[in-house]
Symmetry: C2
DNA sequence: AAATATTTGTGAAATAAATAACAAAAAAAC
DNA sequence: GTTTTTTTGTTATTTATTTCACAAATATTT
């Protein structure tokens, strides 16, 4: 099984589309439908499934419930994933309130901030001092963290996360994090994402965009 | 000039690193330094520059000020880009307050929401009824929009944006937008980004991650 | 029950992207 | 002023990803 980042991201998108097909009352689905729903080719869908060992039935397509279960299994949805956030500023606070995670069995169990004003034991998701990050993560065995602190604090926070046993980080700070220990990092830079839109919609680069059904989902409709 | 999404995203990252080098007092820089700063190879840096027609001096490297100006020029930073947001929920509100856009000459000039409670003419960035989106964008000639509304409203909002003349959209709703008119779409799905981290940090996929210095910046440090 | 139509699964081919390699240029050293 | 060293710019190579194409399988129709 040789997965790449894009194929995993697509699995997530298939699952999303699948959910909508299911609510529409469908029971089975074909690679063609999924392809159309997320904007890739049907070959791509089948190849992705092949990579992850997902199989359907020839001529019969895929049973939605079954496919859904397989995707959830691959994406680690058999159990709730506990996640922590460092930084309760604009982005951190938005993620805390965001209700899209819950239905994906992702649970933000705590947030940490340097600002005492933000601390709260009683909030729906408690907010603690950054000093409590390491013991908390250690004690709870949390493996995933989100970095939503300013750039200047990001490396320090990341170091603490890695020290405390976190193995994967979603990073919103615009810099390259470094660590002596192994840790998966996925960085999202909102400014860059917007700059991309600006570049491709204002430059004469139209021709090449059609092929740009890329990672984050950039595409051009005709 | 054959740009792809990744190369444009990297330009943005080079610029960021460059800014830090400049504040450190440096005047010139080599492809090696930039590569190290953002985590790619120096070949990649030079190749990117080559694609966009950026040149330095052999053995002399690049003058930071000059390079900075060229990058800004390519990324359309010679003039302020006016942007609107649809949806003032968690993510929309966070983006409104986010101060990372301003220094990139991106200005959010208005937001639109269906909820009258959120309307305000006097806020730093005014929030209007969604009904005012089309005339506002039309009158001001806005070309870039951000979609931060729930999935169920996203297609409708997108249609209005395209109708009103918007040519590029940064979309946070988890679905594929469709339009009969040409429009650049860049979709960011926060759940998917986090799922990616979870997948690669919990599965035994370590081996392939090293090569995964991908689009959104995912990488694994040793 | 046989014939037909459709869709999967997967290697092969094509395309795209990243890295390596190195000649040419220009600082720096001598 | 010549030699040496270093770094760019670009072409060639390698690696990664997507698409094509079609045999094999199985619903559906007759």
């Amino acid at each position: 099984m040789i997965a790449n980042k894009k194929s995993v991201a697509r699995l997530s998108r298939y699952k999303n589309a699948l959910h909508r097909f299911k609510t529409m009352g469908l029971v089975r689905i074909f690679s063609d439908n999924l392809a159309d729903a997320i904007g890739v080719t049907s070959s791509q869908v089948r190849k992705d499934f092949s990579v992850f060992g997902i199989t359907g039935s020839k001529r019969g397509g895929y049973q939605i419930d079954d496919l859904f279960a397989q995707l959830n299994n691959i994406l680690g949805k058999d159990q709730i994933q506990e996640v922590i956030i460092a930084g309760v500023g604009n982005i951190g606070a938005a993620l805390l309130k965001y209700n899209g995670f819950e239905k994906e069995k992702i649970k933000i169990v705590a947030a940490f901030d340097i600002d005492a004003q933000k601390w709260s034991d009683t909030a729906p998701v408690p907010v603690y001092s950054l000093d409590r990050l390491i013991p908390f993560v250690n004690a709870r065995g949390i493996k995933i963290g989100i970095i939503a602190v300013p750039e200047s604090a990001a490396q320090m926070v990341f170091d603490r996360m890695v020290t405390s046993g976190i193995r994967g980080v979603l990073n919103f700070a615009p810099l390259r994090l470094r660590s002596p220990k192994q840790c998966v990092i996925n960085s999202v830079n909102l400014v860059t994402e917007l700059e991309n839109v600006i570049f491709f919609s204002t430059s004469g680069q139209r021709i090449f965009l059609g092929e740009l059904e890329a990672d984050a989902g950039a595409h051009q409709v005709e």
